[in-house]
């Protein structure tokens, strides 16, 4: 199938389009069992993925489902449907295209299962659900191709792992199914190919012309960036100038909270009233849709946004991308830059705005990396077993199965290729019996084994519950925010339950660019009124704080080794020279530690360059060890590159603090009681099917039957710390927020080479840390003490504390 049929070439010609070489190549290699296309944005990637399908369906009669398209975004599925319908209609092809997402109506979904379209556009979760039905073999019979869009994004998440497990099932049902992956530029194409492949078969990779280098620079501003912080507020006048000079600008931020603050400030200075919108994941769907539509219609000059606009929807004519704050990760920066200019072979234009002086260095390093096409990324490790547990449940919901056959299927997914039979059996046992050392549920097993060895659900009605819990996306506990009025009010978005619980009526916060006043909580909806205050209390959106990638950190350390920095703006250049005069600059293979007094406290600054999450963990561990040594640490603060600790006593011998075994041990103890572990446990417990998702309805009714996953964690930790789920939790926690791996890398890289510089005052490089937000007090009993203080305050305010003074003393008397 290497020649484009006339009907197609005519259509291309009528549109005045050239067929791209990679689109031809995709057609030529249509029979490859798995094929990964790597192409920049605007390269006609989607059409390239569908051409073999369209050509095939144009020539032959096909009954039922021919091609399955999977994208990480519901909106993308709808968008692609529109884009595909155009050529299909214009060429008069006999092809039926439908999408199926969480938004599709129940009747339509039912009909799709009975009479599937030729091309079905869906998401990983909807596919997993389809695979869980007993009629899956009938629905997918005859399936020829699967197209996985934005596979680079999926390959980094559990959603992707779930998808590949679902495909392993489909492949067993349809042995001839061909796989196509469409990816943006990535650092390790082989890893994405391995993710897509049907193991042990290989997956070919096809590279489209990457196009011209992007036109990318730092934004010139009149004001120098501040010493610390992440807002980029100083650059607003210059950003507004750029918005005026371009057609449509995307202004990317690293966190939702920063996007909200920036948007608010931008409007305060937007004297020309340029139409500017905001878009991020915490806004209500109505709000987001409105912004998206305005953008497609070209009504907006700029959109302040976050990762919610990272992925591929074609939002009109964007000709400039501005990144506020250091990009932290070169690959993401390149993908964001690609959002500007969807015309193929025209350079994308982007500007970087460092939020503070240190980020100037990081931005320059990132610019160099982009120029050298040196992308970053960390290998993901073996497939998460909580997702595997869910897959086993899904398989059981679809009907009886054989353990060995399922194990062999699972191993065809790249992430699970090295899964041992023992690991698989442990997951199966967990799904079937809970996998406890105390065999409590033999009578009430979830899965039972027949004498012939096949497994099936003890209670067939359980299939329904399994289906309700499908998916790996975890809504953290979010509450809807509504404008208060008689008829229910406009939905504005969502905030975390934890944040909501810290609000008292009258507090103000930012959401969707407006300042609102908290009025109260009604049936689990946060009610607010509009408020024109100038100083809002900021919504603390969860949004991940990205850590600077290992590769980018290495680049910064290499820059530090230079004699001079002509590439840096003067203030930053002088700052680095001053640091070298006073103390020294951190080096790649050594740990620099500075100790100095400041403001009556002893300070110690550790330059580890291990990224924010790892430095945060390091801060917790070092202070714990300093506490043991009687150094009375009082608190610390961490950034991507350093941790600053303050306390009562001077640090004299830092080397023992970094003893690897000692740190490991402290880590193990600390980890067990850590909130990160509990949060990770909750996620893994839901994904693996130990506990069920709480639906909004259940929370609304405040049902007391649901209890916190923390209790289960504590119970397992106490009575069966080696349980499979505890093991999974540890594995997942170490990958994510705790990031202990990067601490170990740092220790390995520096191998005990510690430079301890003792000074009489703050050093230039440490100075910004004093202004950094997110200080962590060191006090194990902090919560109890704060709680008691708060209780006392509330009682005093309410005038309720009527206990006589002598009774109060009882508080301290042991019972």
């Amino acid at each position: 199938m290497d020649r484009l049929p006339d009907r197609f070439s005519d259509w291309f010609a009528r549109r005045g389009w050239q067929v791209h070489p990679h689109q031809r190549d995709m057609l030529a290699r249509a029979d490859a069992p798995a094929l990964l296309l790597i192409a920049p944005t605007g390269g006609g990637k989607t059409l390239a993925g569908f051409l073999p399908t369209l050509v095939d369906l144009a020539d032959t009669d096909h009954d039922g489902l021919h091609t399955l398209y999977i994208s990480p975004l519901k909106a993308l599925a709808a968008d692609i449907k529109r884009n595909l319908t155009t050529p299909v209609t214009e060429m008069g092809l006999p092809i039926r295209i439908e999408d199926r997402t969480g938004d599709t109506s129940a009747t339509r979904k039912k009909r799709q299962r009975a009479d599937p379209p030729h091309i079905l556009l869906t998401t990983p979760e909807s596919l997993a659900l389809l695979v869980s039905y007993e009629d899956a073999p009938r629905m997918f019979a005859g399936l020829k191709r699967v197209v996985v869009d934005e596979i680079h994004a999926l390959s980094e998440s559990k959603r992707g792992d779930q998808l590949m497990l679902a495909l392993s099932r489909l492949q067993a049902l349809c042995p001839d199914m061909r796989r196509v992956g469409l990816s943006a530029t990535v650092e390790d194409p082989a890893a994405v190919a391995s993710f897509l492949a049907r193991h042990p078969d290989p997956c070919e990779i096809l590279y489209a012309d990457p196009g011209p280098d992007p036109d990318i620079a730092m934004l010139d501003t009149d004001a120098a960036p501040p010493w610390s912080g992440g807002g980029g507020r100083y650059a607003i006048p210059a950003v507004l100038e750029q918005v005026k000079a371009h057609k449509t600008t995307l202004i990317f931020h690293n966190t939702r909270a920063q996007a909200e603050i920036f948007f608010h400030e931008l409007w305060l200075q937007n004297d020309d009233a340029l139409p500017i919108g905001i878009h991020h994941g915490s806004l209500s769907r109505e709000q987001r849709t409105r912004v998206e539509q305005a953008m497609v219609q070209g009504d907006l000059r700029a959109i302040v946004c976050t990762g919610s606009l990272d992925l591929g929807i074609d939002w009109g004519d964007v000709d400039l991308v501005i990144q506020i704050g250091a990009p932290k990760n070169v690959k993401r920066l390149v993908q964001r830059i690609g959002r500007a200019n969807h015309r193929y072979n025209a350079p994308s234009k982007a500007l970087l705005v460092p939020a503070n002086r240190f980020e100037v260095v990081e931005c320059v390093a990132a610019l160099q990396a982009v120029k050298e096409r040196d992308l970053d990324g960390d290998p993901r490790g073996p497939g998460p077993r909580d997702v595997l547990c869910q897959h086993i449940l899904i398989r059981a919901a679809a009907g009886p199965f054989e353990a060995t056959a399922l194990y062999n299927e699972v191993k065809t997914a790249g992430a699970y290729a090295s899964l041992t039979r023992a690991q698989f059996d442990a997951c199966l046992d967990f799904v079937a019996t809970g996998g406890y050392a105390l065999r409590a549920y033999d009578q009430w097993k979830r899965l039972k084994q027949d004498p012939d060895g096949t497994w099936h659900l003890r209670d067939p009605r359980a299939a329904q519950r399994i289906r309700q819990n499908i998916g790996t996306i975890m809504d953290t506990d979010l509450l809807k925010v509504r404008m208060k009025n008689r008829r229910g009010g406009t939905p504005l978005g969502e905030i975390e339950e934890g944040f909501a619980s810290t609000l008292t009526p009258g507090d103000t916060f930012l959401i969707g660019g407006q300042i609102v006043r908290y009025e109260g909580l009604r049936e689990m909806v946060v009610e607010v009124t509009r408020r024109a205050d100038k100083q809002p209390k900021i919504a603390t959106f969860m949004g991940t704080k990205f850590a600077t990638s290992t590769q980018l950190s290495e680049r910064i350390l290499r820059m530090f080794a230079q004699d001079d920095w002509p590439e840096l703006p003067d203030p930053t250049r002088q700052w680095l020279h001053l640091q070298r005069d006073r103390s020294q600059l951190p080096q790649h293979d050594r740990i620099l530690i500075e100790s100095f007094p400041h403001d009556g406290r002893e300070h110690t600054c550790v330059y580890g360059f291990a990224g924010r999450n790892a430095m945060q963990t390091l801060g917790l561990l070092l202070t714990a060890r300093m506490e043991q040594q009687g150094l009375h640490p009082m608190g610390f603060v961490s950034t991507d590159y350093a941790t600053l600790i303050w306390g009562l006593d001077t640090l004299v011998h830092p080397e023992p603090l970094f003893d690897r075994d000692g740190l490991r041990e402290t880590f193990e103890t600390w980890l067990a009681g850590n909130a990160v572990m509990k949060r990770t446990f909750k996620q893994s417990a839901v994904i693996s099917g130990l506990i069920e998702r709480t639906t909004r309805g259940q929370r609304k009714s405040g049902k007391q039957a649901t209890f916190s996953a923390d209790i289960l964690y504590d119970v397992l930790h106490k009575y069966e710390p080696d349980h499979l789920l505890m093991d999974i939790t540890r594995e997942e926690a170490l990958k994510g927020l705790v990031d202990f791996g990067r601490i170990e890398d740092m220790l390995m890289r520096t191998a005990g080479r510690v430079d301890h510089v003792v000074l009489d005052r703050v050093t230039p490089l440490a100075a910004p840390l004093f202004l950094e937000a997110g200080r962590v007090p060191v006090d194990g009993a902090a919560t109890e003490r704060l709680l008691a203080e708060e209780a006392q305050r509330l009682m005093d305010t309410a005038g309720l504390d009527m206990k006589p003074a002598d009774e109060k003393r009882h508080w301290r008397v042991p019972y």
Binding site: T433, G434, Y436, L438, A440, Y441, Q443, W444, R446, R458, D459, R461, A462, R465, E497, G498, F499, S501, T502, L503, T504, G520, R522, T540, G689, L690, I691, E692, G702, K703, Q704, A705, T706, F707, S708, I711, L712, V715, L716, K718, Y719, E720, T783, E784, L786, L787, A788, E790, A791, L794, M795, A798, L800, D801, K803, E807, H810, W811, P814, Y815
Partner: protein, 223 residues
């Protein structure tokens, strides 16, 4: 062990950090909603297979409270077993453990809405019991002087940007509602409607934990 003193209808009570209530003068200890056998029931009904250690954990904590307070009378305010069939889910070790704790004590099982009072677990089974000016029952009525359970009240406080949630006692000068003592028990938010209806002015919550503390019960704003 820490506690908060409470006067209910002239009786001096102590709300313990563990979630148990003590009446030192009469040597009475009250706990509510043990929900023993909950994990077994959930597995039986085809739901989650939770770590099967919850009865053990609940009994362990109850044993510790008994050790510390040495009461002559123990009152379990209902829902002691998670449902009628949960008795079968208790193994011999657990049943013997309960018998050991009962030795030398007047042990009263109040009937709950999940279970009638267990008949074969020793002690006495009653619908409710009155001692002095107080009545002990599972679900509160508007009558004054009632000590009850059933609702599993839970408090939530914002403390310097951090949200802390704890099972709690709720009381005013007429009623005392105990938190659930069982390990696998959720909670009903202290601002929920039933509490607003039962609790009068000056109502307080006592948050359980290593340092129990009293907090005024937030009033629901008129909607």
């Amino acid at each position: 062990m820490n506690f908060v003193d409470v006067i209910l209808q002239g009786v001096a009570l102590r709300a313990l950090g563990s979630g148990a209530l003590s009446w030192p003068e009469r040597r009475v200890l009250i706990v509510s909603d043990l929900h023993l056998g909950k994990s077994e029931r959930m597995a039986r009904r085809g739901g989650a297979m939770l770590p099967p250690y919850e009865a053990r954990d609940t009994l362990l904590r109850l044993d510790a409270v008994l050790d510390a307070t040495d009461p002559a009378t123990v009152i379990c305010l209902g829902d002691s077993l998670d449902d009628n069939a949960a008795r079968a889910g208790l193994d011999d070790t657990e049943a013997q453990w309960i018998a050991r704790m009962q030795a030398g004590r007047d042990w009263i099982w109040i009937a709950g809405n999940h279970d009638p009072a267990p008949s074969d677990l020793g002690g006495r089974a009653l619908a409710r019991v009155g001692i002095g000016p107080l009545t002990f029952r599972h679900i509160a009525t508007p009558a004054p002087g009632e000590v009850s359970g059933h609702y599993h009240p839970k408090a939530r406080l914002g403390v310097r940007g951090k949200s802390v949630s704890r099972p709690c006692f709720l009381h005013d000068d007429r009623h005392m509602i105990l938190p659930a003592f069982g390990t696998y028990t959720g909670g009903l938010d202290w601002t929920a409607a039933p509490f607003a209806a039962l609790m009068g002015d000056g109502a307080c919550a006592i948050l359980t934990g290593p340092r129990p503390c009293a907090v005024p019960l937030p009033r629901r704003r008129a909607a």
